[in-house]
């Protein structure tokens, strides 16, 4: 009976209570409050005399409840008084108050049990109402307001009492009023609440045991209550310290279940629950049970922080790490214990002791815990201000996580669960992939040093679990220090290959992206590029989750930087240009929230975005990125702009063109301040063919100091600038010269002769320059191929016509499904050859250029934001991705068909510019 009494629902309790109260004689209801106060006093006294470690919080909670009950009683009293003077207005007020109080009380009690006080009030009112209605004389005498209140009271009561009909009849059958039942009534929910409310679940438990003994002795029982109350806080220690041998597996199990049942309930102290459970782990009888409880401890620790935005307290996190290690120790010590979260466990499974042969299954999911641990770590970094010491302190905890992850992975590999091991490996990859070798080395060093610190942690844990010695001693088996291979590449290789072998789609894709990123920071552009192209990630990235898209963007940005460092301007431009197309690079890389004027975000969106942010130490320097992007654009665009109007090609980088236009429209040009200004100044110099000034301006940017091989990169840049300056010069002034000698050009641009020759030859071959070499005299002879504007226009028309025909054909194909017979060339083939470099053929160039171009006015350009792009795509991560990525040149049919239609517009703009020029 006793256990049912505690464990079962409250309604049952109610009934019981009423039957119990049956025995007690009835007393004057008015004494009830005083009786209650007495009771409370005795409790308070007990608490006060308690030892120092009694929980203050427990007491405050107590008094709130007390207050509520007192309030209720006083309201009852008021009603009673009002009935005496027949003041219905007052009664109505009191009734409303009573109802409100009822709500509060039940909220505190966390039950739907209705206090007897309330029922009493109801009965009282009902009787009085009947009485009043019976007495017609009195009714007539009433004031109008009073009569009105009476009527409304009648309605309300009728409605209200329906809910409590049964209780009322019960009450009428045995009107309970005496002190005993009252105190019982108050005390009992109190008790059961305590278990839920604060640390002390144990008294109830003890009671239960005692209950079994002296069930029939009511008087003694009451004494017990008081005693148990007074001991409260020491209970858990004392109870077990007295005779540890008496505690059985069942005891622990029961208590464990009780605590678990309270989880998540309103008013359950999360921190306290953790402590309770931690205590239980110490008294656990079998390793399996200990493990089971440990799992609960860990999940309770995760529960401590309920909000999605905030993070778990750091101390708690560390303790959680320690617990994880303990779990792993246990698992290593007892290899027959199997952790599983799929099957329902046998209740008694954990009872099997150390000597049990054969597998013992324990419910739990190591990987889920680990992932949670990781995301908590991530979140805590997100939330911490990166400029504070806290952030650095927090970062130092990384090795701790690495240890756990490594051990979990080892364990999983040992038991052959490679799928989960792959997940863990991914988590480890994600901690390593963004680290250059220097940072990696630092991390290894930190891990080495950390031993001392970890000792502290251990000590802390020890202190926490003061008290009785553990029943199940688990020696430290798993290493407490992470081991790192010499170079991060080795580590990555090991982890990544594990993931590739066993991971699921998403895990693999993420690992691949991390791999690409890592290769990119290690200046292995070709490897990274091949990985990207071979994995076809850019095709499917739109379909993936946003976090992976961000990772993809980061990888692309890093790839671009890598290509730039290697001197591959076109490739770098290809990687970076799309990031900048929308002007929302911050958002795309999740490195800060960019605000757009044209596109208001809802708070939810903002919240979501905040949750996606990268911690500061993982950021890619935006200035460097912007500088890289713009310089690539300069090197590509400037010669393009210099070529004669009629065969001027489409602008490759519209962002840059727009910026340039803005800067050209400025009346006064001040000295350059930010990256953009510098690049614009450099552009102006380059347009004039002044390579030296161009280079000087660019070299002044202080973001270059972030590069490891700064000098090399700047040298490369200088050569590139010289080359492009030469091209620009030739394209601009070729019409003015009949011939130019090789020597002159060499001295002008300070380029080696061979290089210069090859550059000019290339231009001749590609028909950018209408000229040829005269070998005996060593000079370039320009042919003046006069092309009138009419010719230029005709060429453009021809181009456009072919676009028109092509789109007609496509339309035909789309409607009939078949291909047009008898036509010489097919686009489909172009698309297939994907791996090849550069956009293939005219066709795709057209589409790339016209793709994604919204119709927005010039106003959109001021902020450099381009609000028109991809309007309506949530977050915008989706549509701007690299489907025609770096070298892919792969434009799907989807964009193709759209391209044809929008194509006219940009061309027209082009045309106008041509005329102006």
């Amino acid at each position: 009976m006793a256990s049912r009494f505690w464990a079962d629902t409250e309604s049952e309790e109610e009934e019981e209570e009423i039957t119990q109260s049956d025995d007690e004689g009835s007393e004057e209801s008015a004494t009830a409050p005083s009786g209650w106060v007495n009771k409370a006093k005795s409790y308070l006294k007990g608490a006060a005399s308690d030892s120092d470690d009694s929980d203050t919080q427990g007491r405050t909670v107590k008094s709130t409840r007390e207050r509520r009950n007192e309030e209720m009683l006083s309201t009852l009293e008021q009603i009673r008084n009002a009935t005496k003077i027949n003041d219905w207005v007052n009664i109505v007020d009191c009734f409303d108050k009573l109802n409100k109080q009822l709500e509060k009380v039940s909220r505190i009690n966390d039950s739907n049990k209705v206090p007897t006080t309330y029922i009493k009030a109801l009965v009282l009112l009902e009787d009085f109402l009947a009485e009043t209605f019976a007495n017609k004389e009195a009714k007539k005498k009433m004031s109008s307001s009073n009569a009105k209140a009476l009527n409304s009271m009648k309605q309300k009561l009728k409605k209200n009492n329906k809910q409590y009909e049964e209780l009322i009849t019960n009450y009428r059958a045995n009107p309970v009023d005496d002190e005993e039942s009252e105190s019982e009534d108050e005390e009992e929910p109190d008790m059961s609440d305590d278990g839920v409310d604060d640390v002390i679940e144990y008294p109830s438990d003890e009671d239960r045991e005692k209950d079994g003994e002296d069930e029939d002795d009511e008087g003694e029982r009451k004494g017990d209550w008081v005693k148990s109350q007074s001991k409260k806080d020491k209970q858990m220690d004392k109870q077990f310290m007295k005779d540890p041998s008496e505690i059985t597996w069942e005891d622990v199990d029961k208590k464990f279940k009780d605590i678990i049942a309270a989880r998540g309930k309103k008013g359950t102290g999360r921190v306290e629950q953790v402590e309770q459970l931690t205590f239980l782990t110490r008294v656990a009888k079998t390793p399996a049970q200990k493990l089971e409880i440990l799992f609960s401890v860990i999940s309770a620790q995760f529960d401590v922080n309920p909000s999605l935005l905030g993070h778990m307290p750091v101390g708690m996190w560390k303790r959680c790490v320690a617990n994880m290690l303990l779990v792993l120790d246990t698992l290593n010590q007892y290899p027959n214990i199997v952790v599983d979260d799929t099957v329902d466990m046998d209740e008694k499974e954990t009872k099997r002791g150390v000597d049990h042969k054969g597998p013992i299954r324990v419910w739990g999911n190591l990987v889920a815990f680990l992932e949670r641990l990781d995301s908590e770590f991530f979140k805590s970094l997100q939330c911490t201000d990166p400029y504070t010491k806290d952030y650095i302190e927090r970062l130092r905890d990384e090795p701790l996580f690495m240890v756990v992850a490594q051990n979990v992975q080892d364990y999983l590999e040992r038991i052959g669960d490679f799928k989960s091991a792959a997940k863990v490996a991914l988590r480890r990859i994600e901690l390593v992939y963004y680290k250059p070798q220097e940072v990696y080395d630092a991390m290894c060093k930190l891990a080495e040093q950390n031993t001392g610190e970890e000792g502290d942690l251990e000590g802390e844990v020890q202190e926490l679990s003061r008290g009785p010695p553990e029943f199940v001693k688990i020696p430290e088996i798993v290493p407490r220090k992470p081991t790192f291979p010499e170079s991060s590449r080795d580590l990555m290789d090991v982890l990544v290959s594990l993931v590739y072998k066993y991971g699921d789609e998403r895990t693999k894709a993420r690992a691949m992206l991390c791999d690409i990123y890592h290769h990119a920071i290690f200046d292995e552009y070709p490897v990274a590029r091949d990985l990207l192209l071979m994995s076809h990630l850019q095709d499917g990235i739109q379909l993936m989750d946003i976090a992976s898209q961000i990772l993809f963007n980061r990888a692309m940005a890093q790839l671009g930087l890598c290509a730039f460092r290697a001197g591959l301007i076109n490739e770098a431009h290809g990687c970076l240009t799309e990031l900048y197309q929308s002007g929302r690079v911050k958002e795309l890389l999740a490195q800060g929230v960019s605000q757009s004027r044209y596109h208001e975000k809802t708070p939810e969106q903002e919240k979501l975005e905040r949750r996606r942010q990268m911690p500061y130490h993982m950021h890619i320097n935006l200035e460097l990125l912007e500088a890289t992007h713009l310089i690539c654009a300069v090197l590509i665009e400037v010669p393009g702009m210099a070529s004669p109007a009629y065969d001027r090609r489409k602008p490759v980088n519209k962002t840059f063109r727009r910026l340039l236009e803005i800067s050209e429209r400025q009346a006064f040009v001040g000295p350059p301040e930010n990256v953009r200004d510098h690049v614009m100044a450099a552009t102006r110099a380059l347009t004039r063919g002044d390579y030296q000034k161009c280079f000087d301006t660019i070299a002044k940017l202080d973001t270059w100091k972030l590069l490891r091989n700064k000098d090399q990169v700047l040298d490369m840049l200088k050569t590139k600038i010289k080359e492009e300056a030469l091209r620009t010069y030739l394209l601009t002034y070729s019409t003015c010269y009949e011939s130019l000698s090789l020597d002159q050009l060499t001295s002008m641009f300070d380029l080696p002769e061979g290089r210069l020759h090859s550059l000019v030859s290339k231009m001749i071959m590609l028909e950018e320059l209408h000229a040829s070499w005269d070998q005996p005299t060593r000079c370039v002879v320009f042919h003046n191929v006069e092309q009138t504007r009419l010719h230029g226009l005709l060429f453009q028309m021809a181009d456009k016509l072919s676009v028109l025909v092509e789109s007609n054909e496509r339309a035909y194909e789309a409607s009939t499904g078949g291909t047009l017979e008898g036509l010489p060339r097919r686009r489909g083939e172009n698309q297939e050859t994907g791996v090849g470099g550069g956009p293939q053929g005219r066709w795709q160039e057209n589409f790339v250029a016209s793709q994604g171009r919204g119709r927005f006015g010039y106003s959109g350009r001021v902020g450099g934001t381009g609000g028109g792009y991809q309007k309506g795509t949530r977050g915008g991560f989706g549509s701007s991705r690299y489907q025609d990525a770096a070298q892919g040149g792969r434009v799907g049919g989807r964009t193709g068909s759209r391209g044809g239609q929008v194509d006219g517009a940009p061309r027209m703009v082009n045309l106008n510019r041509g005329i102006r020029a």
Partner: protein, 443 residues
């Protein structure tokens, strides 16, 4: 060092054991490595095959003894025993197949054949399997022609697609080793079809199969008369090009050579250069570098030096450096062709960007004497491949620059639009008319 550019070590793992022999023979002949090393390698190769006698011979010549290690003798006994047993089990089927009259009864329908054999001659699946084993054993022993025949017949009877595929590989290897290029080419195409159409367990196996196929095909393509086209077509096939780029970069050498030598496949040159550029970080040799110098950097000096290296590479390559003896001369036809074409490439490119060239420099650039160069140019001019004149006094070649008329260009670019639109209109109108007629007729 002449062996710097040797690819044997890269190629060999993708070949069958037996196919490596010709390569080793070649290397031995070229004296690229120590004789001893090669002989050891040969023994190593033979250890897994059944050609024990041959291995013994090599062993003797390597160590200059008459003694043969015991394990070789043991192995020989074993091999002979196994040969006997296989011969026995395959005997009924073989005797059936050797009777031409009986073979006539076989029909293209496999199921029918099997049934028929089973009913009339008591030849069941076991015997057919034995035939396969026997053929394989024959191949291992070096009896390629026998193996090829049996495998051919086995394929007619075999129902297991996996087995059929490996039989095909065996047949191909046997034909290659017997130097029956025509048949080998047929087998190659058959194999290619199967590989392309078959559903492999993983794309990786398919890739591996393609790579094998390409390696094996090298034997055929550089020996078959039409191989030059074949190799370009096969290797430039998207999937095969991908395979090269993924896992067999060294094949670019053969592809590049084939493209240079092949006059009819000049249109793929651009694609080839793109690929070479993309893969240059993981594979380059003089041949690819030559093309890069010429078409990417327009560095004629560099191309010149590379060309000289190319010659060595070709001579030392087992596939490219095939020798033909004509009377007293030993020539390497491919080398001559390559050099000639490469020169032409240089010359062409050079002429395109110049309007006036000093012939002596040109001669130097093309590795020729002045007179040779002049003759070369005159021939070109006469055959109107080159629009230029020689200024004999100053010793220069003067190009006559002619730029395409703008009008011509425009007309050119618009010409085919007309046809395409016409086709389009026709395609749209015709069905409509047909439908109209049909409805009219129905009425």
């Amino acid at each position: 060092m002449a062996s710097t550019h040797d690819l044997t070590w890269k190629v060999a793992p993708q070949l069958d054991r037996h196919l490596v022999f010709p390569l080793l023979e070649f290397l031995q002949e070229r004296q690229l490595y120590n004789d001893e090393e090669i002989l050891k390698a040969k023994i190593e190769l033979l250890s897994e095959t059944n050609m024990v006698d041959y291995a013994m011979d090599i062993h003797k010549s390597l160590y200059h003894t008459d003694q043969v290690p015991q394990e070789m003798i043991d192995r020989r006994v074993e091999v002979v025993a196994r040969l006997k047993s296989l011969e026995e089990s395959a005997a009924p089927l073989i005797s059936f197949l050797q009777n031409a009259a009986l073979v006539q009864e076989l029909r293209p329908d496999k199921q029918y054949n099997i049934q028929m054999l089973n009913e009339r001659y008591q030849i069941g699946a076991d015997q057919i399997e034995a035939l396969y084993q026997y053929a394989k054993f024959q191949f291992e022993c070096g009896n390629y022609s026998g193996a090829a025949d049996y495998l051919y017949q086995y394929r007619a009877l075999c129902t297991n697609p996996e087995r059929s595929l490996s039989a095909l590989w065996g047949k191909l290897a046997a034909e290659v080793l017997m130097q029956n290029w025509d048949i080998a080419l047929e087998e190659l195409n058959r194999l290619k079809e199967i590989i392309d159409s078959k559903n492999f367990a993983s794309p990786l196996t398919q890739l591996q199969n393609r790579i094998w196929l390409m390696h094996w095909s090298l034997f055929i393509f550089f020996n078959h008369e039409n191989g030059r086209n074949g190799i370009v077509d096969l290797f430039f096939h998207d999937r095969y090009l991908n395979a090269i780029q993924t896992n067999a970069h060294h094949l670019l050498r053969y592809l590049a050579t084939a493209v240079v030598v092949n006059k009819r496949r000049r249109n793929v040159l651009k694609d080839l250069i793109k690929v070479i550029q993309q893969e240059q970080y993981c594979y380059k040799d003089p041949i690819t570098e030559f093309l890069e110098c010429l078409y990417v950097n327009y560095d004629f000096e560099g191309a010149q030096t590379k060309l000289r290296e190319c010659e060595q590479v070709i001579l030392n390559d087992p596939f490219l450096g095939k020798r033909v003896e004509e009377g007293n001369f030993v020539t390497v036809p491919l080398r001559d062709e390559f050099l000639e074409n490469a020169r032409l490439f240089i010359f062409e490119t050079y002429c395109r960007i110049h309007q006036c060239i000093d012939i002596s420099t040109l001669a130097e650039k093309m590795n020729m004497s002045y007179d040779e160069a002049e003759r070369f140019i005159v021939n070109l001019v006469r055959s109107s491949k080159l629009d230029a004149k020689i200024d004999s006094v100053s010793g220069t070649l003067v190009m006559s620059t002619n730029h395409i008329n703008v009008h011509e260009q425009i007309i050119e670019s618009l010409k085919n639009l007309n046809m395409r639109t016409y086709m389009l209109a026709k395609n749209i109108v015709e069905p409509a008319q047909a439908a109209a007629q049909a409805s009219a007729a129905a009425r």
